[in-house]
Amino acid sequence: MVTCLERRKILLVPLDPVHDIGLKMIRRGLDKAGHKTLLLPPDLPSEEIISMMSKEQPDQVLISRTLGYGVAELLARFADLADAAGLRDKMGLVIGGMAIRPELAAELGFDAGFGPGTSVEEVVAYVEGRPYQRDANKVKKTKADLTANYTYQYRHNAIGELLDRIADGILGWVQGKTSPAIQRSRLRDNLWDIEQWRLGNINKDFTEAYSALCDPIAEAYYRSGEVHPKTRQLRAEEIERLEAYLTDTKSRMEPAKVQHWEEGQPKVFIQYGTGCPFMDIAHIKLSEAWGADGVVHFDPSWGARTEGFIGDFLTHQEDGSVITPENLSWTKAGLEEYTLWQVRAHRGLNTPETVVLAGKLGADLTKINIAYGSLAAGTDPARLTVDGVESIKMAAKYNLPFDVVTNEELAGVPAHKAFAGMLIVAALGRKLGGRPILQPLFCYSPEVMISGQMEQNYIDFNAAKIKALRKIMDAPIWPGAPIGFLTQTEDRVQSSMTTSLHAALAASLRVDAISIASSDEAYSGGPIVAASRLDTLTAVKEGFRFFGEGRVEATSMADRWADEMVQNIEKVLKDVADAPSFVDALYNGILGSKEEGAYPGRGGRDTIQVE
């Protein structure tokens, strides 16, 4: 609060036919700070304002203008009149508003100019002649733990018992079995010292043993330094430029938030994987600057079908960025300390080792789902079951919560079957000391296209999914991936809008996190661009602002479908429990049949060995 001696007299002038809201807000701020204010009505002639200024003799005159037409001429004339009246040197003359830019103020001889986005605090600071402390209003951000406050207790006893039985069956089935991926992951876990690697020291024991477990493409890298034919190594000068870019950009970063109501609105993740780690980092930085809470690494599909990882700082012009220790390490270096980083391990021939790499390189989260990886991502069910269990153990060891994504829905598998698979993996996680996060899709899936659950709206069926999962288990929920999948078109307004509405629905359902697409989601002609990433972050922020603590309300259909979903999940789990094994259930279509679009994968078939 200012003292009497410091109290200023401020005349607020809307030099505009109608607009004075901004000035009213500023007046409230100035009054609160103890200054004396006088607000004139809009649409007064300049001569009358000048006369008022002569009469009142304020310390400062704050003039606002919203309409842009002829603004320079209008303000220039006003400044001339103030000069002619001999007022120019007696009081401060400041302009602000939607039509104002600081450079215009300087050009016309005003003392200051405040454009769009100016805060009340900034104007009050100016009036009081003190520097504006931007830091005082700075967003404070910490890294969130999405799994905090969840017990992982079953809320549906019968389903809980089935899940425990199935999980025990899986743990028994994998006993004594191993795979090249498990052996590589244990080598990476035991022999690959990250500090030594950072110093450039090569562990020959690791390299020798590791390359023997790789397929020819990866093996060639260790034998002769040859990189994957689709990739190229970034040159030393490119890496130097990246370092300089990062140092420069990081020095200007300030935390930003998408959420309006912190307690109830989910953390927002974006997915990166432009193919180039340099471009990824640039996209990550701008996503952070626009408020993203987390980022998800997308790797290319061929990476999941190759036994073993190669090394080096690699780029390529295809979808997904190659997982190498160097690429991940640089990405990590690019992140702000408050940003959550997920490296997906879920679907391929390197699943357990991806978890180890993610853990060693400082990731916060990973992604594992045996059912999805087996039925819709090309990996042999038996192989991924063995690898999946090892992955969950590694996730627990490296303290990495993992989401269990249900993308098989996109292939046509009904939600209840995908959820049964997800819950089985979550149950395994629970048994092995891991921290699973349920990831239902908020999508316009083939199932609902055929069956019509989204003919009326996009709300009820998505809400039913969350309600159903909550009836079964007390676990965190992170819809993805991305939300609104298959509702987006190539139009950036439509795309941003549907993402924002799905985000608002997610917030209404009080989920823990969401993954969002860019407004390029439906465009398939090339990579996502920076501006499109910001479209959806801005749209989601606006959606959160609009709804605040309010909610999107589902109709009674959501409850009906949730109950049906729970019943159907129970039926599927009974069938899985009665099958000779979980792996048999996967092969035989219990968790998604060929007719539904689920095809047991062939990658890594017949590679399981006796331990």
Binding site: T249, K250, L286, W290, L534
Partner: protein, 80 residues
């Protein structure tokens, strides 16, 4: 050739992009400079938001202001 290509633009051409820059003012200068370098004279920044890595901008080149002689009308007339 450019004039012919622009003759079917109803009123303005917007460029939406992200400019790598270190301040809002630099972003504005670069956005306007970009449009001028493309040969546009009547240009303005519709929207700019700067943060850390750069500026999200929507920069506009007016091809026709209201009351101008719109080539898309004269082109239609000449076709009739």
């Amino acid at each position: 050739m450019t004039e012919a290509m622009l003759s079917h633009v109803m009123d303005a051409l917007d460029v939406e992009t992200f400019l790598v820059c270190s301040s809002e003012n630099e972003g504005k200068d670069r956005a306007i400079g970009l449009m001028r370098s493309l040969g546009f004279q009547d240009v303005d920044i519709v929207y700019i938001h700067y943060a850390g890595p750069g500026a999200r901008v929507r920069v506009r080149a007016y091809i026709y202001r209201p009351g101008d002689n719109y080539a898309w009308v004269t082109a239609q007339e000449s076709r009739q």
